[in-house]
Symmetry: C2
Subunit: 415 residues, 2 copies
Amino acid sequence: MNATILCVGTELLFGQIVNTNAAWLSQKLQILGINVLYHYTVGDNPGRMRETLIRALRETDLVITSGGLGPTQDDLTKEIIAEVMDDELVLDERALAEIETVFSRAGRRMTDNNRKQAYLPKSGTTIYNDVGTAPAFALEKDGKIVIALPGPPRELQHLFETQVLPMLAARSGSVIRYRMLRFYGVGESDLETRLEPLIDGQTDPTIATYAKEGECTVRIASKRPTPEEAETALDETENRIKEIVGKYLYSDQDQDLAEVVLNELIAKGLTISSAESCTGGLFADSLISYAGASTVFNRGFITYTNASKEEMLGVPAETLDRFGAVSEETAVAMAQGTLKCAGTDIAVSVTGIAGPDGGSAEKPVGLAWIAVVTASGELRTKKHYFRDRGRNWNRKTFVLEMLHQVYCMLETISC
Amino acid sequence: MNATILCVGTELLFGQIVNTNAAWLSQKLQILGINVLYHYTVGDNPGRMRETLIRALRETDLVITSGGLGPTQDDLTKEIIAEVMDDELVLDERALAEIETVFSRAGRRMTDNNRKQAYLPKSGTTIYNDVGTAPAFALEKDGKIVIALPGPPRELQHLFETQVLPMLAARSGSVIRYRMLRFYGVGESDLETRLEPLIDGQTDPTIATYAKEGECTVRIASKRPTPEEAETALDETENRIKEIVGKYLYSDQDQDLAEVVLNELIAKGLTISSAESCTGGLFADSLISYAGASTVFNRGFITYTNASKEEMLGVPAETLDRFGAVSEETAVAMAQGTLKCAGTDIAVSVTGIAGPDGGSAEKPVGLAWIAVVTASGELRTKKHYFRDRGRNWNRKTFVLEMLHQVYCMLETISC
């Protein structure tokens, strides 16, 4: 099956917002084995919307629209789809009741415009919206399907995951299950090469790799007659992947490294503190951005100057003089000083050269030393170096490496 | 003039990358007074690329393409454009020489594929690429223009700003100048209402407003016969805007609040330190993400627990007990403790409720207290409250408010 993604909204054509829905939907349709041939964006203009929809339906079997389902006069997506598909809009009582509930709960007055949102194509299947006021729908005619979703990414993603994905899978008498496996410490091309024997000739589950700053994700997806068969197929494939590259896997639930580390700390009842130089608080932020952090993150030191390393953490001046601020010795002294001040179970430190200045042949931009110490006397250090790709890219990779060293310490595995 | 933006690349249709070029180009074309009617994305497929280009040229006068100018067999944008516009590709000697220089400088071997990049439409105008290997070009025929740009955003943006923008402006015998004015402390709709008398009936310079997390940007653009006239027109409009909402303006050079604060600190030779609770290092990060931070940012304290506020900053237990961790008194004690420990000219603190838990009727999620103190004894505090829009949105607004309080202290203006 071939598909077009048709995004509607003048704010997209003005460049006021970046279209993230097209990429998101494309990834999900790929899981279903549906080829996306076109992304189109048009403004809130009935003529151009009509022509573009007609073209999309001629060229592909499935058209997914986003946007234009709101209560205002500009929102014409439903009207145009009904017209092009030779259908009509009728009141959906359940949709109306749901919109009324949203308004009465919020203590807001409902207008006739909002009532308009409950009018939906007569021959369509309503996709009731439990996270917003705009109901979505699917409409099929002569072997062509249009699925209209609301524009806000949170609503679009939720409705797609919970209702559209199962609906599309069911058309082929199948269910779809997929998992995102997250890896650290292995490059994308290396990962692909190692998994090649598995990827080649494998039709279900499908395996796809994605790269992100210093990280890789492998998506495995299975389309089978029953959920049990799909899950079993995923288990088997996941196990085969683990046999090959399992030592780099840190999450099979699409979680960030920070979230995984935080959950491990919570599960083990351990507290942590940090000392950062060039990362300037980004490590602490990576944990504190999750609500559960308050039970495990105790305090952080941002020691950006040599004086602050000495005064806040008791790093000896001799250590800084003899080995330099960016050295294994300084990283260890920073972590030990942090542990002592904070009294936590674990302390982690980083000292590095983020650039653009400050690098040398011996200590280039992109180099960092990381140390992790525990109250029970364990110590691990890591010399981290990635090719310099700019100050903030470097800083993010330093934080990932800190998280990974803490993760390794928690797992007591060698990395 | 009406335009289509046509992005080429299978990686876009797979959802592996989000298309930021379409929004970026749309904003810039709007400055030129060009209406963008469509965004299209197609894969590296000659048939669909050809059909889509033909349609775009029928529907609009200007087509800007991005992507498909690389050295591989997949890269077919030039070939398709030449075919559709009835032109032919010929060797551009200067383009070839430039590509050869890039390779010889990098010590890399040049292949025949790279040589292919120097073949360009015979009747076109080459847009030489000083930041990459793919030359771009403009080709005009029968009143229709195609401009082909490389896909990597850094190259596309640079070539557009330096060559395409002047080229398109010159077609109307004009030059284009524009400025981005950045505001803090005023909402977008409020700003629009206040500027309405200026916006209404104003044809040049044009005025457009944009909203971002807790901030607003106003773009003013002028298209005039000479650069001097355009700059004079911008000066006049900027002055009129300043008369109305000048007290909220913090940059007329499209700089972040963090960058503005950092540059002010550097210019005044002042040092700063920080104490953060729920923002967890984000304030320090906002400054340290800029390379110049090392001369002004001394150290930061992430005091996420009450104990750490007492031990690291000497906040009295009585203050915490009596007024609570989120209070003016605690914020002041944190800032004063930071100033004392760090010995900087300025210290700033924040203590707030980021959510989702921890709020109450009296102290709701989204509330923060901020304090700024100086070595010369000045003190300012601010109770910040925005409606809760999620933990990390709240945390970002807290950081913006911290930056703004420091900015106000530096300007010694009242906000």
